[in-house]
Amino acid sequence: MIDILPYPLIVDQDELCEALEVGYVARLGVLATGQRGTAKSTTIRAFSMMAFGDLPVTLPMGVTDDRVLGGLSVDALLGPEPVEKWQPGLLEKASATGMLYIDEVNLLEDHIVNLVLDTAASGIVTFPRDNADRPPTQIQFALVGSMNPDEGPLRPQLLDRFSLVVGVEGRGDREARAKILHNLLEYELHRDDPASPYMQVLHRENAAKRKQLEEARKRYRSVTVPDDAVAACARIAEEFHLVGHRGEMVMLRAARAAAARAKRRQVTVEDVRKVAKPALVHRRPNVDSGSPRPWGNDEEKRLTAAVGGER
């Protein structure tokens, strides 16, 4: 059994947790980018354990294309009665759960990135290998990734496939550190005893959070977007010179998810404002470097002005 620090014990990751939850409700992808040791992977895995009850379907460094798309099972061919049995690839597996996690996404080989991009763009996976007689299959998953920008940028096309991008920064102050240490050490003290009161509390908190998110997912479809929220989206898009319309669409879907999460039936302009940063930080023109430029006070002022309708 592989245990992961439970989601309720994650400290100092409010923005990432919020993006993951909004992404879960609206089925949007999330990229966590940040310096080393900021618990990006742990947070994503903890979220997956909470939301799906298992580790995420993971596309690791060094993955081969047969494992991405699927192929004939070698084990079945080597068995006592050899048969041609299909072994589903990670894209198909991710479609079953709804989430594909790519750890160290900027270290992925180019041809694997191409496979993921093609599938994410078309929503269809084809199987051009092993003489397989399989029809193209429709798949859908939210792409979740983590990366350390020190190790190089992402291709712009792949960056664009992440609906929301969160820059993860450890606060580094003593209080936050002490709390991280405390949570982790206490968890490691109790993790071998799932029946302990400590673990039971965590289990209940995870279950409550999962229930909340499930309800928000159900509510999401019925959340309406009034004209003022749509207008705010359009003004923000204009202010930030967005290329194409994916940015606005993501903003609206994320704002609806934020409203659903807050148990509301209607999006507010404040919802749009809250999700604008993760939806747009990587969509501003000339982010060709593949690493989002910092979002500073200037951007916040422009966002406030655009939301308020000031020109």
Binding site: D75, D150, R174, V201, R293
Partner: protein, 571 residues
Amino acid sequence: MNPAEAGDLLACAALDPALGGLLFLDAGGRTLDRYAASLATAMTVAGEPRPAVVHLDSASSEEELWPHWAVAFRGGALFARAAGRLSEAPDAPPPVIVVPDLARVGSAVLRAAVATLGADVVHVERHGISERWRPAARWVVGCARRDVPMLSPHLLDRFPIRCAGPYRGEPEVRAVDPAARQARPRTPPAVVEMIARTMPAPASTRRCLALARTARALARLRHGQTVREADVVRAAELFGLSPARPASAPPAVEPAPPARLPAAASLGEPPSVVDGPDELAELPASSEAQPARPADLEPARRYPEDDEEAVPQPYALRWGTPGPAGSRITGTIIGHDPAGSARDLAVVPTLLRALRRSRLRRNAGPLRLARDDLRQNRREQRSRRLLVLVVDHSCRRDWDCTPGLAEHLRWAYDQAAAVSIIELGHRGTAHDLRPEHYRARTVIDPRLPAAFDREPGGATPLAAGLDQAAQELRRSMHRGWAAVDVARLVVVTDGRGNVPLAASASGRVTGPVARQGIDDALAIAAVIARLQRVEARVVAPDLQQYPTLPAELAKAMGGRLTVVADPADLP
């Protein structure tokens, strides 16, 4: 590091797999072997096998590190699933991995260290094999102190425990008895706080956790129920740190078992410490004192990457240090051919062929391979040369730059180099303040001649063009299998950039720009100068105004300047 310190550290690493990354500064191969053997001894549980000691070096490939299919001769030849050198099985102790020189190891090993050390889980998805496990291998790694600043900080963070020489004598291996393995000491809030204060900012969380876990492991070694301040003091010594003074509150004492009663509210709040028997009486008085710190234990010397002057090799995990020629199988698989050797066999095509033959002959039972069945992967051969061409049309007017470009275009043709073109400052551009960028597979791409036949425009976003060139070079040269060996950057310009980088980014010019566009271009040129395996060239017209700008740019890029005079100006 004296034998007692080494013994303590190895015992802690043996007890807690999360302390598995040990970096020995300036240690030779024999020292590492000695320490690895001692660690394996400390990890050995009575009555169980001793952990394997596995050596990795620059020739270690991804294929051998992770689980793979090997040809096994049993009757007829069959494929068999083989464990990788980093594989861990539930019924075997985790291995001790030895890397003699982290600065000279191949990228496969560097990537494996990042994927494995301190990770919650390792995933392997290769050639039909899908495995995952919680990594518990310990890594004993050597590196010269002078080389550490050049390594990736991302990688170095996986090695929070640093050992500094001189390495005197044999490590005093402490017995890790069953009671120590069973012990689960609690870390009281005051001690947690002391640990947080001991690790100097801005150390990463991993270092802080390693210190806490080392203190806890020391408590386990003495069968304590509580981690004490003395454990933190000792752990800090082992890390080469000055321990923070204990909190002013009364010293923590052992809680009376079973005092573990976390409630929902306690998950966010440190639990209260329950009074219990005072173990402090057992402590030698000296343990509470602030020990004098030897000169070689300064954190800056153990963590040279924290120094502001440290310049790590960019994107080392993509690029790394290549192994010996021919040792790596590279390139995307694009098909398969009959095999001429047993190297890089295509497993599924081989088995399918054997299956078909078996069905024709109506053979029952497991497949048996014949020589004719063997298929080998056919891999894409990619160009490993790249020409990045930055063309500033605003300087061209009636000037023909092609004589200065001829040698570079010929080089690209001869080398079958891929070409990346960045154009700026022409009248037909979609956005005056931004460059345009596209890629061609070869220099004979039909778009290339058109790139030398455009009308000059007014704005010259040279800085943004160079920035894109720098990104392109990094992206192309440091991407795993597709890595380019040598790139040539050729910039056609008079150096007179009049659009600051910020204006290109925002798409607006606000206020006077003065020299900002030129200064930004020079700053980015200096970044390009630091890229390795890049040959930079500037091709410039012979101008009366600002004649030194192209030379300044070439100098900043660490490249060569070629001035091409307009034939009309020649006597």
